[in-house]
């Protein structure tokens, strides 16, 4: 199978690889997928005082398209509010990376990862508020 230039670029030069402190109240972690299915994505986002995503990091186990999808997503979410990030749809990833139909599940997984990271941060913030 031939990969698009954009997939190859993200695969060879992945953006924002790494790890944020999962215990930090301003960091949300989303881990989706399963080794059994051949892909696992970990997406982390960090919000500033205004609730805007100021940093994002990822690590992904999976095929080239899965790696590229998560790398792209870290770029897309930066500078967005949580609500804006939550509105990102997998088809935007499909179009940007020119993913073939058999790889659409990679973009779905990336969308799920955003949702999971946002849910994590909201849960933390909810707890912080009720504790206050």
């Amino acid at each position: 199978m031939a990969y698009s230039d954009k997939v190859i670029d993200h695969y060879e030069n992945p953006r924002n690889v790494g790890k944020l402190d999962a215990d930090n109240a301003n960091v949300g972690t989303g881990m989706v997928g399963a080794p059994a299915c051949g892909d696992v994505m970990r997406l982390q986002i960090q919000v500033d005082a205004n609730g805007v995503i100021e940093d994002a990091k990822f690590k992904t186990y999976g095929c080239g398209s899965a790696i590229a999808s998560s790398s792209l997503v870290t770029e897309m979410v930066k500078g967005k509010t949580l609500d804006e990030a939550a509105a990102i749809k997998n088809m935007e990833i499909v179009e940007e990376l020119a993913l073939p139909p058999v790889k659409i599940h990679c973009s779905v997984l990336a969308e799920d990862a955003i949702a999971a990271a946002i849910a994590d941060i909201r849960q933390k913030q909810g707890k912080a508020e009720s504790a206050a």
């Binding site: 790890k19 080794p35 186990y61 095929c63």
Partner: protein, 407 residues
Amino acid sequence: MGNLNIPVYLDYSATTPVDERVAKAMMDCLTVQGNFGNPASRSHVFGWKAEDAVTEARANVAKLIGANPKEIVWTSGATEADNLAIKGAAHFNASKGKHIITVKTEHKAVLDTCRQLEREGFEVTYLDPEDNGLLDITKLADAIREDTTLVSVMHVNNEIGVIQDIAAIGALTRSKKILFHVDAAQSPGKVAIDVEAMNVDLMSLCAHKAYGPKGIGALYVRRKPRVRIEAQIHGGGHERGMRSGTLATHQIVGMGECFRLAHEEMEEENKRIEKMRDRLWDGLKDMEEVYLNGDLEQRIPGNMNISFNFVEGESLMMSLKDIAVSSGSACTSDSLEPSYVLRALGRNDELAHSSLRFTLGRFSTMEEVDFTVKEVRKAVEHLRNLSPLWDMHKDGIDLDTVQWAAH
């Protein structure tokens, strides 16, 4: 030889290039100046010459496996030979019984043929191999029933290269008077074959894994004691009625020639390939979390199937863009399952998804092996840096205890 050819071809178990000497022999059987006649034409010299060429090829194929030339039936490849053997034997013996035994690690040409027979009302037992890929013969003995008519076990596994103990299985099936079919598509030139000593009744062969052309193969059908099978392709009654269709002289000559060369050069060639294989494994085995799939000893020289834990196979292949290998990972095929062969060995999903098959052959070089070692190490390191599973492993987390959100 003795240099680096990029892209490096390390997928000899998928297919091999045709040896120049084989191609030359084939080209002599095509044009008006060549041996183009129909081997079935009995009335003129064109036919006789073609028949002579086919006869010589038949003898060369028979010789490599210790058979009589009269026991060779030409087919379009190993897939057709598997179909002819299994369906042909099952149907012919259906009045005696409808139970067949095979193994979960067989090629799809065997497994899917068995599935078809199940749809027709036959019963098939699919045995699990041991963790090293080899069949425990006592499990086979236990699976044999009154109504078992056929056992089908491959000689050399295409994914992991392990060599089954065909002689031991043959002794068992012969003593029980059950037919024994062997898919030996991957064997010629890699490991010695003797259908007499091994008590094999039916054996599938093909040319394109042994430096011959694609689209030609053969089924060995034992004559003493006589094995009878039902034809699957009907027509002019060629090949003693077992497989009709005008014989493809050039293909057959190609198969004969590559089997002749295999017979002559096998010993020398395997020594050379084994040295390269050892160098490949020595270059990789000291990495962390690297596992060899399949038995190391009972294995053909050219095969290395290795799992690089916490790295997914398809992305690894993408990194190795100058090296042609194959992967047992799901993403390379339409199915979502990782390699069924590795799963049958009891490998967990991570390891099955993380495997690469390197197969070396006649035109491989040490330089190519060294290049491959270097590239693989680099790629695995790059991908582990990207892998959350590797992080977790390094943090001491047992992945089996994690609740995954399966999708």
